[in-house]
């Protein structure tokens, strides 16, 4: 293997890591705080992707000169729309099911099917084309042999900014303090005067909004269609479960480990074999650490 390929592979690992992290952050927060297994996470990412599509179409038709900046509008719109949807979803459906975790699983899975069919009926049964803005097309070439796709560099930056923002929100604001309090001990937090229902709703909305951001930015790499979410959901779950469901740091490290494994396995093996090997390794690790890599130790 030449140095050029080695460098590009290292970048690929970094890129997959940030992609997985961006996918999993929202799910990890919702899962960790409320124990809600949101099977519709993938479809919320698809919703974010469709927001990007909508923004692209709008700019194309009404402000073609601003087309280069639509990507930011798309991401913002995706966050606003999906988090608003998440808020309504929590108030209208999820909160009635808190005591029945298996039912939330079924309800959100049903919701994912409904959303897929809604996209299929009202937008298009086919994939829609979301154009990549001109300044993110092509690759950055530090040397002749090395080409690093600009769209991936953008996602790396976006993921790091998003993760930093989430960290700041959770650990540096009063609102984050409340979320952490509720996560650790719901009853005591309620007794101390925290409105846990409100915290739940806002956190769920935040988790969904993060899914929207992820979905919106992934339009640069992959397809946008009714079943797009299905392509993301399995990876997202693996990352969250592997990392330990109550730990944000765990999610990030697990995204890193799986990202590195994926890039190198895919390089050495065929794609399907790489995937099977990763799943096998995850199973082995979960066998010895059933709560994931970074489970918080609590007495149960």
């Amino acid at each position: 293997m030449t140095f050029d390929v080695l460098a590009m592979q290292a970048f690929t690992g970094l890129s997959i890591f940030t992609i997985l992290m961006l996918m999993a952050l929202g799910l990890a927060i919702v899962f960790g705080l409320m124990g809600v297994i949101n099977m519709a996470h993938g479809e919320l990412m698809a919703m974010g992707a469709y927001c990007s599509y909508g923004a692209a179409r709008f700019f194309e038709n009404f402000a073609p000169s601003m087309m280069d900046y639509y990507v930011f509008v798309g991401i913002l719109l995706a966050f606003v729309v999906t988090s608003a949807f998440g808020f309504l979803l929590e108030r209208g459906l999820i909160r009635f099911l808190y005591k029945r975790p298996l039912d939330t699983l079924l309800a959100t899975w049903g919701l994912s099917l409904v959303l897929q069919q809604v996209y299929r009926q009202f937008i298009s049964s086919k994939e829609v084309e979301v154009p990549t803005v001109s300044w993110l097309q092509g690759a950055w070439q530090p040397t002749d042999g090395i080409a690093l796709p600009l769209s991936r560099i953008f996602i790396v930056v976006l993921a790091i900014v998003t993760a930093a923002a989430v960290y700041w929100l959770l650990f540096r604001t009063r609102w984050g303090l409340r979320i952490r309090a509720v996560t650790q001990n719901r009853a005591m937090a309620g007794a101390a005067g925290i409105n846990t229902a409100r915290v739940d709703a806002y956190t769920f909305a935040l988790g969904c909004g993060l899914a929207g951001i992820a979905g919106s930015s992934f339009t640069m790499l992959a397809s946008t269609g009714p079943t797009t979410g299905q392509h993301y959901i399995v990876d997202t779950f693996i990352v969250v479960v592997f990392g330990g469901v109550e730990s944000l740091l765990g999610t990030i490290s697990s995204a890193f480990i799986i990202g590195q494994m994926q890039s190198w396995f895919e390089f050495e093996l065929s794609g399907s074999m790489a995937r099977a090997s990763i799943l096998l390794l995850v199973i082995v690790v979960l066998f010895f650490r059933p709560n994931g890599l970074f489970a918080t130790k609590v007495r149960r």
């Binding site: 069919q117 080409a147 796709p149 790499l221 397809s223 079943t227 794609g271 399907s272």
Partner: protein
Amino acid sequence: MSNINRRNFIKTSSALAAASAVPFPMINLRSAEAAGTVKVGILHSLTGTIAIAEKSVVDAEMLAIEEINKAGGVMGHRIEPVVEDGASDWPTFAEKARKLLERDRVAAVMGCYTSASRKAVLPVFEKLKGLLYYPTYYEGLEMSPNIMYTAQEATQSVIAAMDWLYKNKGKTFYMIGSDYIWPRTTIKIAKYTLKKLGGKLVGEGYYPLGHIEFSSEINKIKAAKPDVILNCVVGGSNVAFFKQLTASGITGDKQTILSLAVSEEEVSGIGADNTAGTMTCMGYFQSLKNPENQKFVKAFKAKYGQNRVTGDTLECGYNSVYLWKLAAEKAKSFDVEKVVAASSGLEIDAPEGKVRFHKSNHHLWKHARIGTFLPDGQVNMVYESPLIEPNPFPKL
């Protein structure tokens, strides 16, 4: 029904049972052609992953049925389509095929897209003596007495494409595909062909259906520096594959990339920018210049919208209905065996030009066509083979 008691219930139910036991098969025997209509089944995925590809095939088949009905039907019988949803799920396909044959008693079924769904319905059609028209290019190695194959098998696409590529584009190949029966078999055939020609395979990779991360594979391609990339990736993964190829600087103007599962239809999702300059091998392109095709494209756009495009599978679906109609008229019957017998050597003026059924193997004589995608998503044809004899079991 207020006075249901046991005696009444026994009386009526036994009468019903007796009534249904005796004349049931007689009532339903000819329902496929009752009252001046003839039922034809349409069996594709309207929901689920593959709906992306199959929904527009249904559109094309419905267009053909509408045209035939407008022109007086088949031997005076109006075609009554019975549409069933296979839901991208193979057991569902088998179940719906059984329903179409047993309950609706359809004269023929236009259906299936993936090889997996065809394999699932095949035993049902053979057992119940139904007739399936299968409108998708596939890997060959099959010939059921109850299926008519109206698209290309392997020798009419991949082998023709390999011959042409080897002669015109280069000797080293990199092959990549989705991980299921069609890409696996197609690449196997391509590898044999390449070996026979004397070329060299420098790499191959398979990815699960729906995979969206190709950057490691792209790095491998860069390291291997092939003359030609043969792409058998299917469905949504193609969007990811092409976007990521373009982003890393591998584009159609610098590198020969030939896709076997990308038609004009898929390009609208991938983005014409990303496919411009890459090649495809199909039996039909929307840009073909002949009166039949112009009529077809015009009618399709008039019915479904000006921004819709036609493509290979759509056209084969459209042809299937006409091929069945002609065969039934030639046989003067809707009987499956007679229709199949009448299909032998049957010729039609299709949008892709004249095609005709082989004397015995249920496949069509077809042209293989290779073209380059233009920035508007249409195809500029660069090579057209003469009519190729179908050979579903090629000697490799």
